[in-house]
């Protein structure tokens, strides 16, 4: 078997999610190549070559891939991937965008968002917002798969010494072009890979009040998240949403503040190791999944939390 992993990156650094995808590839078994498609992405290729278990890194460095347009990546990956038994990428917004195009171009099914490998053709994935876990078997000769990074412990980032090969395949479908982007700037750890995440919900009442959570996050080195209600109300930007239709996180510690615990929110965080809930309503469903629940008004509890943490950290 031979597996092609498509790297997730921003042209300058390799996303940790890719190391989890390589771990999923190792669980399948076989030679693992990594494709880095982007523009001026040499540093990413170097990082990928050092990852544990990678045999070869293929680099497609061209302006056509600079913004990871799904049309162009779809054609490239379908072309490069057709000689492999498995094509894998992380289930981030880039992978979710281009990978189904790859599957359609190869006339195969895609298995989305796997959390476990049972065998080379059988995978485990959550459905119904994680309320059911399905084991699915694919009969296609090329298996096109997106991987939920929280399902697999990342391989080591250092120690490997894969060869790096430049590809000169340029696929520019000419269907779409990049206009602009608004990236949230933050020095905090990336929500998807942070060891601690603190999230606020509708109970925060407004965007300014999130500053209270930021202060706690800074003390803990935590990433910041939010419920959909908080995002919809405009308190915080969309990329902070945790849940079925936002980010899936599984940190060591997840602190939910003023979040009721709707099933769609739980879908994004219930695999966290330790869950803390702060909510003034003792009946809030979030307490059913919380390891430590504090029934309190968050406007008193959060400043106290900051003070107590300062004492012990």
């Amino acid at each position: 078997m031979s597996i092609l992993v498509i790297a997730e990156h921003d042209n300058s650094s390799l996303k940790q999610a890719t190391l989890s995808v390589v771990a999923a590839a190792k669980a399948i078994g076989g030679d693992i190549d990594v494709l880095v498609a982007g523009e001026n992405c040499g540093a990413v290729a170097e990082a990928a070559a050092k990852a544990e278990g990678v045999a070869k890194v293929l680099v497609a460095d061209n302006a056509a891939y600079g913004h990871f347009l799904g049309e162009n990546l779809g054609e490239l990956v379908a072309e490069v991937g057709k000689g492999y038994s498995h094509i894998l990428t992380s289930a981030g917004t880039t992978g979710k965008d281009f990978m189904p195009r790859v599957a359609a171009l190869l006339d195969v099914a895609q298995v989305s968002d796997i959390i476990r490998v049972e065998s080379a053709d059988t995978f485990v994935r959550p459905i119904y917002a994680g309320n059911a876990i399905a084991t699915v078997k694919t009969s296609d000769s090329i298996k096109v798969i997106t991987v939920r990074p929280t399902g697999f412990d990342p391989v080591a980032a250092e120690g490997g010494s894969a060869s790096v090969e430049q590809l000169d395949v340029v696929k520019d479908a000419g269907l779409s072009s990049f206009v602009g982007e608004e990236k949230a700037k933050s020095d905090r750890p990336d929500l998807a890979s942070a060891g601690i995440v603190i999230s606020g919900g509708r109970g925060m009442q407004n965007g300014d009040n999130f500053k209270m959570l930021e202060q706690v996050a800074d003390l803990l080195g935590a990433g910041m998240g939010a419920s959909r209600a908080a995002v919809d109300a405009g308190f915080v930007p969309n990329d902070m949403q945790v849940g079925q239709t936002g980010k899936i996180v599984a940190p060591q510690l997840y602190i939910a503040v003023g979040i009721s615990g709707a099933i769609q929110h739980l879908a994004g965080m219930s695999d966290s190791k330790v869950i803390v809930a702060i909510n003034k309503d003792e009946e809030a469903p979030i307490f059913q999944v919380a390891d430590y629940g504090l029934v309190a008004d968050l406007f008193e509890a959060v400043p106290q939390l900051e003070e107590e943490l300062k004492k012990v950290l």
Partner: protein, 249 residues
């Protein structure tokens, strides 16, 4: 221009999903079914394009058993003009759904096809992208804003790092994210009017598509239950537990 919208019948998002005791799937007997929430957003967007005078006809399509006609009628009550039901009782997976929709696209020649970004049952997030690839169209996935401008459409997408805007040649495929719009409710007079709107029934065979499930679901299980922990009395106890018991800070 003509807009095609795909709507899927799924379990209502408020229903607590239960896995069948024999682990063959999820219990759908006697549960409330509804239009997939992302598809409601797709219908709403099409209706708004029509209200702005950009779209002149909205065609809705749904694939599945006869009961899907309920969701088509809902879309008609919300403002779509005509429905197409592709009747299929078998397991129609994303790739086949995309092939069926492609056949409809070839017949109807819409300028814009709007789908939900994912359906809340299988959570696949595939069909729109597959349809775009099969028809050679550009795609604007996870859209939070759609602006039609001549023979192009600008789509702002919700991506991991924030927002990204693309310009696509028309015809194009758009898949909706939650913040694209807030769907309206159908009024009673419109529900009555919808009953008289045209709804054609067709089949995969009529469309020349052979349904071939590639994925077999071997079993469906309930997730490992997380049990409730303890309530702490105050913040000091919480911090103590996190530091000395859970050892996560």
């Amino acid at each position: 221009m003509k807009v095609l919208v795909a709507v899927k019948r799924v379990i209502d998002y408020n229903v607590k999903v239960r896995v069948k005791p024999d682990n063959t799937g999820v219990d759908l007997a006697n549960v409330k079914m509804a239009m997939n929430p992302f598809c409601e957003i797709a219908v709403e967007e099409a209706v708004r394009l029509k209200e702005k005078g950009i779209a002149n006809e909205i065609v809705v399509v749904s694939i599945g058993p006869k009961a899907c006609q309920e969701q088509i009628r809902t879309a008609l009550a919300l403002g779509a003009d005509r429905g197409i039901h592709i009747e299929a009782d078998e397991d129609v997976q994303s790739l086949d759904a995309a092939k069926l929709l492609k056949a409809v696209v070839e017949k109807e020649e819409p300028k814009l096809v709007i789908l939900g970004k994912q359906s809340i049952d299988t959570d696949n997030n595939q069909t729109g992208q597959m349809l775009a690839a099969l028809t050679g169209m550009g795609q604007g996935t996870f859209a939070s804003e759609v602006v039609v401008d001549g023979d192009k459409v600008n789509v702002t997408r919700e991506v991991d790092g924030g927002l990204m805007t693309l310009s696509l040649n028309l015809p194009a495929v758009v898949t909706t994210d939650l913040r694209l719009n807030e769907p309206r409710y159908a009024s009673l007079p419109n529900i009555m009017k919808a009953k008289k709107k045209p709804l054609d029934v067709t089949s995969p065979a009529d469309l020349g598509v052979e349904i071939a499930a590639r994925l077999t679901t071997l079993k469906v299980e309930a997730p490992a239950a997380r049990s409730a922990g303890i309530k702490v009395a105050d913040v000091a106890e919480l911090v103590d537990k996190l530091k000395n018991e859970a050892k996560v800070i």
